[in-house]
């Protein structure tokens, strides 16, 4: 770890923690309906929208009605994104004349964006029209974090209220999330990105004349446009020479902004945040990282504020930061150490004033090691999944970090809304375990944790590993699962494990060598994303309803305080132990096996 890298990481954490409180305060105000003066001018728009919907904002919902509204809203998102992809050939804003996307890929992408996953089987610049990007995908980039926010606010209300049947109004929570939080931040951030060089236009792709002519092997296609293959199945190529480069265009910055703010992660281009038109400079990169974690971190303060004890929120945030720093250290160390196989070839991987050194395969010069490892750790702490470096090319331990963080359930900051509700579920489990140890009925925030609550929390903890490990097992047994793998050996297994982990965790990053745009993966991962999102939200809302209905009991002598360092450690231990017990065997077959074999090769040299 270089001094400059440490300085940049320190600067990042200071900026994040400094912004968490004001942002958290602001969000608490918004959801409590006390609009701060500087956004009151937007309230006529809000009220006008409710008139259109035919909704009264005082109309409170039970948890079942809230869940139903959430499901309808999500279903419409799937239908709209699916339809836009299938029909884009007939619709405007398609200067590159892209045709319809295949049904299985459209299904996968529709689920992917509705669930805040943004797993991308397609390459944006060669498949999606500008209309599909901005009115389909980017709209879901607003809606899915808004839904996440609504659900976590409902859960917070469950803890904050007592002896009531209702947890808020879904339409009001979603509308306020978009209008007062996501949209204003996006406008400002999008313009900041443009100032750094991110593009924002509706032009067709620009053809430029390159300095040097380039000769390459061009795959031959037959009259129908299909690649020609020789007798052994390899594509036939012919020499071609070009002095043209086609620069992709489009409304990138506006989509990039909400992609980060909403922890969505779906890039306009295939290369995501490593693409110079998405993330042009170190400053744009710093802001992307900040925006990605701002709302998830700030929600901890919002939580404390709304339950009437900000220490509760700080305790949760402290647990998140501590777990994060531990994982970050591993990723930074492993990537800076580089690839021992390169050293043997006479390659200089040492950090110096003139190069960042380390494992630079799949990384960009302007970000170097420090910012690539930091981004990778952040994007998998959150359920973002944007990447500014290719995780597939990380060292085995460097790649283990993102995989392990998603496996923990993305509760370290986590996705917008989904991170905090995941962590609160772990808090419920932590007080339950502590209660078992001292033989008392567990309580959290003055609410007794009873059988129904523990069942709901257990569902949230158990469903993801069931789908991840089950799906991975299925894929490695099937030819359709194995043929998609790009790298040999243990790394190939990691690619499959990462795909299912990322889908269920609604992360969306990938060990991207895997060719997942196939009927098998589009379908399997589509369902994995769907259940990984909705099967968790429903028990969370059920827990919210159950909590809201309970009496508040005053703390007694046997009550475990949930704002102390002791509880922070208990929470960390619960997260790590549950995660480790579930996933260590699978991690052993993938990244850990690869690390040991790399270390062994190094010894032989």
């Amino acid at each position: 770890m270089t001094g400059s890298g440490l300085l940049q990481i320190g600067l990042y954490l200071v900026a994040l923690l400094a912004l968490a409180k004001p942002m958290g305060w602001y969000m608490a105000k918004i959801y409590e309906g006390n609009l701060p003066v500087f956004v009151r001018w937007l309230s006529p728009v809000e009220n006008f929208l409710y008139r259109i919907y035919g909704v009264r904002k005082e109309d409170e919902m039970s948890w079942t009605r809230y869940a139903l509204a959430m499901l309808w809203f999500s279903l419409l998102g799937v239908l709209a994104v699916y339809a836009l992809q299938r029909l884009q050939g007939f619709l405007p804003l398609n200067p590159q004349k892209f045709g319809a996307i295949s049904p299985d890929s459209s299904f996968n992408t529709a689920i992917s964006f509705m669930t805040n996953t943004n797993w991308q089987g397609y390459s944006g610049e060669s498949t999606m029209s500008y209309l599909t990007q901005m009115a389909g995908l980017a709209v879901q980039n607003f809606f899915s974090p808004a839904i996440g926010l609504a659900v976590v606010i409902a859960l917070i209300r469950g803890f904050a209220r007592h002896t009531v049947e209702t947890i808020g109004n879904f339409w009001v929570d979603v509308t306020r999330s978009i209008l007062y939080i996501l949209l204003p931040l996006s406008v400002v951030f999008a313009l900041a990105l443009v100032s750094q060089g991110s593009i924002q236009n509706f032009s067709p792709y620009k053809i430029v004349t390159t300095v040097e002519a380039l000769t390459y092997d061009n795959p031959k296609v037959d009259a129908a446009g299909n690649p020609v293959k020789d007798a052994s199945g390899n594509p036939v190529t012919e020499k071609a020479t070009t002095r043209e480069q086609s620069l992709p265009m489009g409304p990138v910055a506006s989509q990039e902004a909400i992609k980060q703010i909403g922890t969505n992660g779906g890039g306009f281009f295939n290369a995501n945040s490593s693409h110079p038109y998405e993330n042009p400079t170190p400053l744009s990169n710093f802001l992307q990282m900040l925006m990605m974690i701002l709302i998830p971190a700030a929600l901890c303060y919002t939580f404390g504020k709304m339950v009437g004890d900000t220490r509760q929120g700080w305790a949760i945030l402290a647990a998140m930061v501590l777990i994060f720093v531990g994982f970050l250290a591993v990723a930074e160390y492993a990537e800076q150490a580089g690839n021992p196989a390169f050293t043997a070839l006479g390659v200089d991987q040492a950090a110096s004033a003139t190069q960042s050194g380390g494992n630079m395969e799949g990384k960009e010069t302007r970000f170097g090691i420090a910012n690539s490892a930091l981004f990778a750790t952040l994007t998998t702490s959150a359920s973002c999944g944007a990447v500014n470096a290719m995780h597939d090319s990380f060292t085995p331990l460097g790649g283990l970090v993102p995989l392990a963080l998603i496996s923990l359930g993305e509760v370290v900051f986590g996705g917008v809304g989904s991170g905090l509700y995941g962590m609160l579920i772990y808090a419920v489990i932590a007080v339950f375990i502590a209660g078992l140890m001292i033989g008392r009925t567990p309580e959290y925030l003055g609410k007794k944790i009873e059988a129904f609550d523990v069942k709901m929390a257990s569902l949230v903890i158990l469903i993801p590993p069931m789908i991840i490990l089950g799906g991975t097992a299925l894929a490695v047994m099937m030819d359709a699962g194995k043929v998609a793998v790009a790298n040999p050996g243990a790394h190939g297994f990691s690619e499959i494990l990462y795909a299912f982990t990322s889908a269920v965790g609604n992360n969306g990053s990938a060990f991207a060598g895997i060719s997942a745009n196939t009927t098998f993966y589009n379908t399997a991962l589509g369902f994995a994303m769907f259940f990984g999102r909705l099967w968790l939200m429903i028990p969370v809302l059920a827990l919210a309803g159950s909590m809201a209905a309970k009496k508040r009991i005053p703390p007694g002598v046997g009550t475990l305080s949930t704002h102390t360092p002791l509880f922070v450690w208990l929470l960390i231990a619960t997260v790590i132990l549950v995660g480790a017990l579930t996933f260590v065997p699978a991690l052993g077959l993938g990244p850990i096996a690869e690390h040991l074999s790399m270390a062994h090769e190094e010894k032989l040299q």
């Binding site: 600067l11 929208l49 259109i52 919907y53 909704v55 809203f73 419409l76 390459s123 610049e125 980017a138 709209v139 809606f143 339409w171 979603v174 509308t175 443009v194 100032s195 060089g197 593009i199 924002q200 236009n201 430029v208 004349t209 390159t210 300095v211 480069q245 620069l247 992709p248 506006s254 281009f269 295939n270 290369a271 490593s274 110079p276 038109y277 400079t281 990169n285 710093f286 690839n339 390169f342 390659v347 200089d348 991987q349 110096s352 003139t354 190069q355 494992n359 395969e361 799949g362 990384k363 960009e364 010069t365 302007r366 970000f367 470096a389 090319s393 790298n487 050996g489 790394h491 991207a512």
Partner: protein, 190 residues
């Protein structure tokens, strides 16, 4: 069951209009009015014709030019219409072979150079479009470029220094040298 369908449809349409149409058009309008250079791709124009973008790398293989980072885009390197990395894992033999042949190509073009090769010069970029190399990677190539162009080493060195970008605000990111801009400048020297 159906009671929530009506607000669902209407809110979906209303909020789609705001976030999917008004928002991107607003950002486009402001960007095009105030920052047209950046919003349209930071193009480099020479003699009235666009020859590239400051932000998008190009392929160079002639010894008289500085070479950029290896690019794994298909079917040709630096294909800006198909961004992406190699996604080769750290223990993949194909990656080790690729690095080996890149080291060899650099040594073959500059047989006298015995310095170790900076890692970014032989590893593929994440986007396949990285416009920059590290200052170390530029320094490694100064001798070759100067020799191929019959220029003083000190003259080329000075040019590289002029095109070296430090950390942003002295803190953020890593220093780099923009390969396309440097090569365009080299071509203007006679």
């Amino acid at each position: 069951m159906l009671k929530e369908l009506k607000p669902a449809v209407l809110s979906f349409l209303g909020l789609t209009l705001i976030t999917g149409i008004v928002y991107p058009l607003l950002v486009t309008g402001i960007s095009q009015a105030t920052m047209p250079g950046q919003a349209n791709g930071s193009l480099i124009v020479k003699d009235g014709k666009p020859v590239g973008s400051e932000l998008i790398g190009q392929n160079f293989s002639d010894p008289k030019y500085f070479w950029g980072r290896p690019s794994a885009t298909g079917p040709m390197p630096y294909n800006a219409a198909a961004s992406g990395g190699s996604n080769q894992g750290p223990t993949n033999p194909a990656l080790i072979d690729a690095v080996k042949s890149r080291v060899k190509a650099l040594k073959d073009a500059d047989p006298g150079n015995t310095a170790p090769v900076p890692v970014d010069l032989v590893t593929a970029t994440a986007s396949g479009l990285d416009p920059e190399i590290s200052p170390a990677a530029a320094a490694y190539q100064i001798g070759r470029v100067a020799h191929a162009r019959n220029l003083d080493v000190s003259k080329v060195k000075q040019l590289v220094e002029e095109h070296t970008r430090g950390r942003q605000f002295g803190i953020l990111g890593e220093p780099g040298v923009n390969v396309l801009e440097l090569n365009l400048k080299l071509d203007t020297l006679r």
